[in-house]
Symmetry: C2
Subunit: 300 residues, 2 copies
């Protein structure tokens, strides 16, 4: 067993807002390359309304096309009950349900209050348990909100307590806009882990302001062992070339492997997957470590 | 008094290997903008052989031209006794003497063994004390060497003990090639601080593999309060566009200010200085936080 688990979210969070169309075959290829590199848990798509997120319109088709990949544990994002219904009869390991820590973000993002969202989630949780599908509850904007600014820790912890009591299989804490600082990560994640007990806890990181790795390291120190990152760091705002998006999977894997913390991932193959992710993304970003390694190979 | 001190090394480490010629006036302007932003300690140049480092050939002229800047505490890098002689009659606050932690790096970089270098330093230290000039002894490649690979902590600590005993005014530990990991930084800096006692300790960071801020944060946690960074992150290998160089001053200032750790630096003015540093550099890099902030201003 590796010391840490990396969930790559590039096919979902990396591509969802990208204006450049990406075909089902290309997404399938990205997932295949990630699985080949040893990344078994991949958030492959999102069952959102196709009009709201056209890039994810092929969600059903994509998940179906991945059914034969034995080593893959496909995770899909679900925003509501309807989204869950669409996953029926598909091979899905886990659903990732999202609610923001703030009312404003929830209103703008999913058109529901935190309580309305929770009510729907509890229904889905019941169904998923019957269907034998695992559930993750992710708390978006846990470290800061683009509309409300600072987020009180208690807002996050209240949600965490509620889903823990409801029997969720995994709790996700997301730095959706890449605003967290390492001291804040250590403080909040310690409290979340205490509430979560034996329930696995994930941190979802962005690198917008260059703090992704510092935050990941402090989450690790606090006891977090599951990380959500994106190959090549694709994602974030696609209209800002050069700005960092999600934390790059290869940057985090590099950090862990350098510290002798095993990830179970083949680094060279991961760089290949990251190269491919960068080609698919309209931002074509260059993860820090990927740049260094690929330059080295070319003899520069 | 600010909680931490930032020494900006962009005029020296940021420009020294850059193939694009930068005039004395431009360097002067960069220093002026840094001082205007509240960065009082600036490593302005290096008294090396002009044939070896043509970009620093105007060292004497530059330092002379900065004499009128009252708020500036100019630091200059000195590689040998001859370099020290060249600083005489110039207004210099502190000299920064460099030796590597490894014999191979020293041989290739300055053509001296560690012991030969130390012998010369002790002479300079004596002279500097008489001249009323402070001295810093910086240990290059303390976390990893491009020739020898891993560096034993004891190699670094042995040098630190020797210069501490000799009465140096500051001890610098440098991650010259940006290879350090946060756990390693915490471990080594704790030991260095213990030996240093009341002698101030600096960490000099590069961001080559994206770990600059994680390393800075762990150095801070270990007790380090002085950091050497470069405006806009200029420096590093100038032939790898896109690859990170020195840790960007504005990225570190952003981190500290977000954590309510005061730096005494005006952030907006620092971004102006960073913009200017980027223009001077042939890499024209874009520090992470600068990208976010400057985009914001433009309304993107």
């Amino acid at each position: 067993m590796p010391d840490v688990t990396i969930i790559d979210v590039s096919p979902r969070d990396g591509l969802q807002n990208d204006p450049k169309p990406v075909s089902t075959e290309e997404k399938q290829q990205l997932v295949r390359m990630l699985v080949d590199a040893g990344v078994e848990k991949v958030e492959v798509t999102s069952f959102v309304h196709p009009k709201k997120v056209p890039q994810m319109a092929d969600a059903k088709e994509l998940v179906h096309s991945l059914a034969h990949m034995e080593d893959l544990e496909p995770i899909v994002l679900i925003p509501n009950l309807k989204g869950y219904e669409r996953t029926k009869e598909l091979r899905v390991s886990e659903i990732n349900w999202v609610s923001a820590a703030t009312e404003t973000f929830n209103a703008k993002n999913i058109g529901m209050s935190i309580d309305e969202n929770m009510e729907q989630f509890l229904k889905v949780l019941g169904e998923a348990k019957q269907d034998g599908i695992k559930t993750c509850f992710s708390v978006a904007v846990s470290f800061g909100c683009p509309y409300e600014g600072e987020v009180d820790e208690e807002q996050v912890l209240r949600i965490v307590r509620r889903v823990k009591e409801a029997g969720v299989d995994r709790i996700g804490i997301a730095d959706t806009i890449g605003i967290a600082t390492p001291d804040q990560v250590e403080r909040l994640m310690s409290k979340v882990l205490e509430i979560a007990g034996t329930t696995p806890v994930t941190i979802h990181l962005h690198d917008t302001r260059g703090l992704g790795l510092a935050n990941a390291y402090m989450a690790y120190r606090a006891g977090v062992r599951i990380f959500e990152t994106s190959a090549s760091g694709i994602g974030g705002c696609p209209f800002a070339p050069g700005a960092a998006g999600n934390l790059a999977t290869e940057d985090l894997v590099y950090l862990f492997e350098r510290m002798n913390i095993s990830t179970g991932i083949d680094f060279e193959k991961l760089l290949d997957a990251a190269d491919y992710a960068a080609i698919l993304s309209s931002k074509n970003p260059l993860g820090r470590i990927r740049h260094v390694e690929r330059k080295k190979e070319k003899g520069n």
